[in-house]
């Protein structure tokens, strides 16, 4: 075979070769070889691994997969645990794994699940073991709740097995109900010895937890380092298992590994008898002794634990003694050096912030009934069907949301769980009792859908169904699912709601696909900077959808939303855009004039398009009748209310919205703004922290958080430190916080830094949230003034004026543009013009009409007045707004050079002092 010439076609399969591989190899043929020659006796259905035929998957966890398999020789059913290659990093890891597995395999004890063989397949290690037909203890843990003796007997057996392993110098390190298995006779076995140690060797702690799962049964010292782990760690775990059997839950719970371990290390163990008075006191004593935070105070060995449990079962007095409740915690802190080390490590390792948030959250809000419909997995092959699964999920979610009696989490908050599996964690995070998940496959004519309803509190399936139908039945299937789910959750459905659920959004599947894609784009705009492009594309897709189906009501509603948002956000603040929104509403209204969604769309238009608050609120009231729990309603109502100055009510409505859409960054940030304007800074910090838990790398949010100290106490250090750290660790992110950099530079009177910030912000104007934007020449003028370079300031302002004038001419009644012109004129010494423009801006946006922008206009008038030397006017204006919620804060007034002309004036100083933080 010629090696030099490039072949054009493959001689065997006829494929055209494009030089993918050297020496003219044909990739298709090579792949065929790989498929066909994979294993001897390769079967088309099922899979074989060496001597084993894989029958079905039993469990799939972070570390690996467990299959039920049939061994050929000897012929028997076994469990095959395959470690994911992900966790085998290197040759040494592989060697170490074999060593651990072989050591574990050498343990022969009636309570230890026997390992038959250790091997490796396609690079992934595995071992085969006895198949336990009785399943895991996790599945049966509820059965022991009122049977303390049985629980004790079970744990005694487990302890004996563990003790045996300890005698052979093998620790388990990851004892939990998932590792306790039963055979068909109900005999218990402990499995997976040594795996945790092998894993811990490979990765750092956070990864280990990611693989092993939330460590509800893990001794706190295990988190510190492997060196500190002794046999007593296994004793702790046995105690935690006993605790769970007796009370129905592990001793310490939490959202994250860090949280659980932190509690386990710091908090006294809640006494089991507080949960369940029927637990015998001696058994409680045994249990708590295992759970002592100081390993030295636990049972000295698993055998000692087993002995005491046996004594208890026999009705004889036990060895362990009860300690007083109050002294327990203190003793540990004083005498246990590992404890202090643990605390320090946890602080170093964990996000302490996250801990504080969820501590307060979890205590206040238990999981309520309700459901989250998670993104469905898309199993379709064709690229054109990529959004099909999302469409199915969206439709089911929408239908469920029509039921007033059901709490349904908004789509924004669930989309972030795409691909995630832990129902219990999701349930806790979203505070719902159930999740619905599933998978969808479609081809050209049929749809195959799998759906499961899971109770998050127990992590069990409540209902599952498979559908294999004609594609045209798609919406009918979704209605069925919605009905079934509502039934399972015992939600009352009214006749009108039944009708709504049974309806089809559209008969045209292509239109529905376009709609789904648009929806996905619209989701993204809540926390993404490509807003404009996304919104325009969404509009385009929706237009195509309604072109195909002029009766597609939902698409018109989304179209209205898209246009109105483009208008209001300033991305396209033109009357043409507004007209498009109104046309879409007209179309929707012709189709369904009384629908809640129509009223909601109108409300959005009245508010965003016309600032007609009363009109909007009336429409919202009408919408509430049929969409009582739609978070958008609460959101919109809140935004209107705060523009009306009804801040407290607005805050309450936002809190409702958060409950229904807990992971919606946008809502969290808006609520944080609320708190900022209300000067409730502690609450603002807490909310921003919460947003950061959801999006730890959101630089903008981090900056907002750091800035709270600046606004509240005129303390710039946190913001300064944050910006420095971003500069060194993530300089690519600097442009996103140019506004904050600029503010900091001004407040620190660092002209060079201000200049840098200006350059970094690129072509974007510098802006604050009240809608006022400063163009670049204006900012340069400000910087020049700071440097006392009057000539430069003047020329910069002149340039700025020309630019700003154009903007004002294009939008002559837009206050925020006019007030900037006024400020520029003030900088140029044109006193009359400046004051006139400032006053006009205030007139254009009366505070009664828009509490947020209105007050901002007054603030800028005050600034204009200060710049032209009219201190009386300036102080009078400031005094009139200072006690109302607004963006005006202590830090700004105290530090920004923009207010310098007023410094020293006793009235101004008094105003500043009135905003100073109170000592508390």
């Amino acid at each position: 075979m010629a090696t030099g010439a490039a072949r054009e076609t493959c001689e065997s399969c006829g494929a055209t070769l494009h030089g993918e591989l050297p020496a003219g190899f044909c990739p298709a043929c090579l792949l065929t070889t790989a498929i066909e020659e994979g294993e001897p006796e390769e079967q088309v259905n099922g899979s074989r691994i060496q001597d084993y035929e894989l029958l079905n998957e039993v469990a799939h966890g972070g570390m690996g997969i467990v299959y039920r398999a049939r061994q050929r020789v000897p012929s028997r059913i076994v469990a095959l645990k395959m470690i994911l290659p992900a966790n085998v990093g290197s040759a040494e890891a592989m060697t170490r794994f074999r060593a651990e597995a072989e050591a574990a395999a050498s343990l022969e004890h009636e309570g230890i699940l026997p390992i038959y063989a250790v091997g490796e397949h396609d690079g992934a290690p595995f071992y085969s073991m006895k198949f336990a037909e009785g399943g895991t203890l996790s599945a049966q843990i509820e059965n022991y709740r009122d049977k303390p003796r049985e629980a004790a007997a079970l744990v005694a057996k487990l302890a004996r097995a563990v003790a045996f392993a300890h005698e052979h110098r093998i620790l388990h390190r990851d004892l939990k109900p998932g590792n306790v298995l039963f055979d068909s006779d109900g005999k218990p076995y402990v499995s997976d010895f040594g795996l945790a140690k092998w894993l811990a060797h490979e990765s750092d702690i956070t990864q280990t937890f990611a693989v092993l799962g939330t460590p509800f049964y893990m001794a706190p010292e295990q988190a510190v380092s492997s060196h500190m782990v002794t046999a007593n760690a296994d004793v702790y775990s046995l105690g935690a298992i006993l605790y769970h059997l007796l009370t129905g839950h592990p001793p310490f719970i939490g959202e994250t590994a860090m949280e659980v371990l932190h509690r386990a290390a710091e908090q006294p163990t809640p006494r089991p008898r507080l949960t369940n008075r029927s637990i015998p006191p001696d058994l409680e004593t045994i249990c708590l002794k295992c759970l002592e935070k100081n390993p030295a105070w636990r049972y000295s060995s698993a055998a000692a634990l087993a002995d005491d449990l046996d004594l208890f079962c026999a009705g004889r007095p036990i060895q362990a003694r009860r300690t007083g409740v109050l002294t327990r915690g203190k003793k540990w802190v004083q005498r246990n050096p590992s404890g202090a080390l643990l605390a320090a490590s946890l602080v170093a390792l964990a996000a302490v912030v996250a801990w504080n948030i969820w501590k307060s959250e979890l205590v206040r809000h238990p999981v309520t009934t309700g459901i989250a419909v998670l993104p469905f997995e898309n199993l379709s092959d064709e690229k054109e069907h990529a959004f099909f699964a999302d469409g199915v999920q969206d439709d089911i979610l929408t239908k469920l949301a029509k039921i007033a009696d059901l709490k349904v989490i908004s789509r924004t908050s669930v989309m972030q769980y795409r691909g995630k599996q832990n129902a219990r964690e999701i349930g806790n995070a979203l505070r719902v009792s159930h999740v619905l998940e599933g998978s969808v496959r479609r081809d050209s004519a049929r749809i195959h859908l799998n759906a499961q309803l899971i109770d998050t509190r127990t992590d069990t399936h409540v209902w599952a169904e498979e559908y294999d139908r004609d594609l045209s039945d798609m919406f009918a299937i979704q209605s069925e699912i919605a009905q079934k789910v509502a039934q399972q959750l015992h939600a009352r459905i009214s006749a009108a709601e039944k009708l709504a659920i049974a309806s089809k959004p559209t008969a045209d599947l292509t239109a529905f696909d376009l709609y789904t894609r648009a929806n996905n784009l619209l989701l993204r705009t809540t926390f993404n900077t490509t807003q404009r492009a996304d919104l325009l594309q969404a509009a385009d897709l929706l237009n195509q959808a309604v072109a195909r189906d002029p009766a597609f009501f939902d698409a018109y509603c989304q179209l209205a939303f898209t246009h109105d948002w483009l208008y209001f956000s300033g991305l396209d603040h033109t009357s043409a855009r507004l007209a498009l929104a109104e046309a879409a509403i007209e179309a929707a209204s012709r189709l369904r004039p009384d629908a809640g969604e129509t009223h909601l769309a109108r409300a959005q238009n009245f508010y965003w398009g016309h600032l007609d608050y009363d009109g909007a609120l009336a429409e919202l009231e009408a919408a509430r009748r049929t969409l009582p729990k739609d978070p958008r309603m609460f959101e919109l109502t809140a935004y209107i209310q705060r523009r009306q100055g009804r801040w407290e009510e607005a805050t309450r409505n936002l809190e409702h919205a958060i409950e229904l859409d807990p992971r919606n960054i946008n809502i969290l940030q808006e609520t944080a703004l609320n708190y900022d304007s209300l000067r409730r800074y502690a609450e603002e910090k807490s909310l921003l922290d919460r947003a950061l838990v959801l999006m730890p790398n959101a630089v903008n949010t981090k900056a907002a958080r750091a800035n709270v100290e600046g606004s509240w106490k005129a303390d710039l250090r946190p913001l300064h430190q944050l910006i420095d750290s971003i500069r060194t660790t993530n300089p690519a992110a600097l442009p996103t916080i140019a506004d904050y950099r600029f503010y900091l530079a001004l407040a620190e009177r660092d002209a060079a830094a201000a200049q840098d910030a200006l350059i970094a912000s690129g072509p974007n104007p510098v802006s604050s949230y009240d809608g006022v934007q400063f163009n670049h020449p204006f900012v340069e003028g400000i910087i020049a003034r700071m440097l006392k370079d009057d000539a430069k300031g003047r020329s910069a302002f002149t340039v700025a004026r020309a630019e700003q004038e154009k903007i004002v001419q294009a939008q002559p009644n837009y206050g925020p543009a006019l007030c900037v012109l006024g400020l520029i004129d003030a900088g140029l010494g044109r006193k009359e013009d400046a004051l006139r423009e400032g006053r006009r801006a205030v007139e254009l946006v009366p505070v009664e009409k828009d509490a947020i922008r209105g007050i901002a206009m007054v603030k800028y008038l005050a600034m204009i007045a200060a710049w032209v030397g009219d201190n009386d006017l300036a102080c009078e204006q400031l005094a009139s707004i200072i006690h109302r919620p607004s963006e005006l804060n202590y830090g700004d007034l105290k530090l920004l050079p923009l207010w310098d002309p007023l410094r020293g004036d006793p009235r101004f100083e008094k105003i500043v002092a009135s905003l100073a933080p109170k000592e508390n």
Binding site: L31, G38, I49, M82, I115
Partner: protein, 252 residues
């Protein structure tokens, strides 16, 4: 106690490969993370680069974006949050790349920087450019990525098998017999090869079968490193194969 059976091949060296490297990038020491990232880039830059070129970026921008993409992955801790229960590395990379490209800011920042990627030799780059030029015009960027991905996997497997042969002192065999990795050749008979190698026909057939199995095992090990469950290996292989079928169809 059941006997412990050894695996059917022995002493395989495991290099740091895709997923395990991904995990390593979540490791605490920055040094190790950087090494891992370098490794990822070294292995998988081609499909990313090919995708970008097909998407319309010129060669300089494509280089910049490729480098930025991998850096972005590392910095944003996307890798740390990868769900190892589901998903193939290939799909994950494609998804991450699309998200990255949609992020205008990343693009703007990247394109300002200029400069060549440090870890790729000019020869390799030129070779990749050649691929780009000869690729089917109608193929979509996704398909190009898949095709180049398959190319990387197969090349690595071929190289591994070649190295194994060399280590056993059988370099010549690999050269002579590797064409048969694709299956029977219409124009070359086993007898001809046997004659050329001064071996019996039976011996040649045995050698070829062994080489094919060796190759298949090497390919499967490569793919295993990028999927999340053993039974996905076949699936992934079949899927990659269909890419070439599609790409082929579009040429007509």
């Amino acid at each position: 106690m059941g006997s412990l059976c050894a695996s059917h091949e022995t002493g395989e060296r495991f290099e740091e490969t895709a997923w395990s490297v991904v995990i390593a990038t979540g490791a605490t020491t920055p040094a190790r993370a950087q090494t891992a990232m370098g490794e990822l880039c070294r292995i998988y830059w081609r499909p990313i680069y090919a995708y970008l070129r097909r998407s319309g970026y010129d060669t300089n921008d494509a280089q910049d974006l490729t480098q930025s993409f991998f850096q972005h992955l590392l910095q944003n801790e996307t890798l740390r949050r990868v769900s190892r229960d589901k998903g193939r590395f290939r799909s994950f990379l494609l998804g991450a790349l699309k998200r990255c490209l949609a992020d205008e800011k990343m693009q703007r920042h990247t394109l300002k920087r200029g400069g060549r990627i440090q870890f790729i030799s000019t020869d390799d780059l030129e070779a990749e450019e050649l691929h780009h030029l000869r690729a089917v015009h109608e193929a979509a960027p996704d398909e190009i990525l898949d095709a180049r991905w398959a190319g990387v996997v197969l090349e690595r497997a071929l190289e591994k098998v070649r190295a194994e042969c060399v280590a056993e002192g059988k370099a010549g065999f690999f050269e002579a017999l590797s064409p048969f990795l694709e299956g029977t050749k219409p124009h070359v008979s086993y007898q001809e090869v046997a004659d050329r190698m001064s071996l019996g026909l039976g011996a040649v057939k045995t050698l070829i079968n062994r080489l094919r199995r060796q190759f298949a095992a090497a390919v499967r090990r490569e793919v295993m490193q990028t999927v999340s469950a053993p039974h996905e290996v076949d699936d992934e292989l079949r899927r990659l194969r269909t890419v070439f079928a599609r790409v082929r169809e579009q040429a007509f």
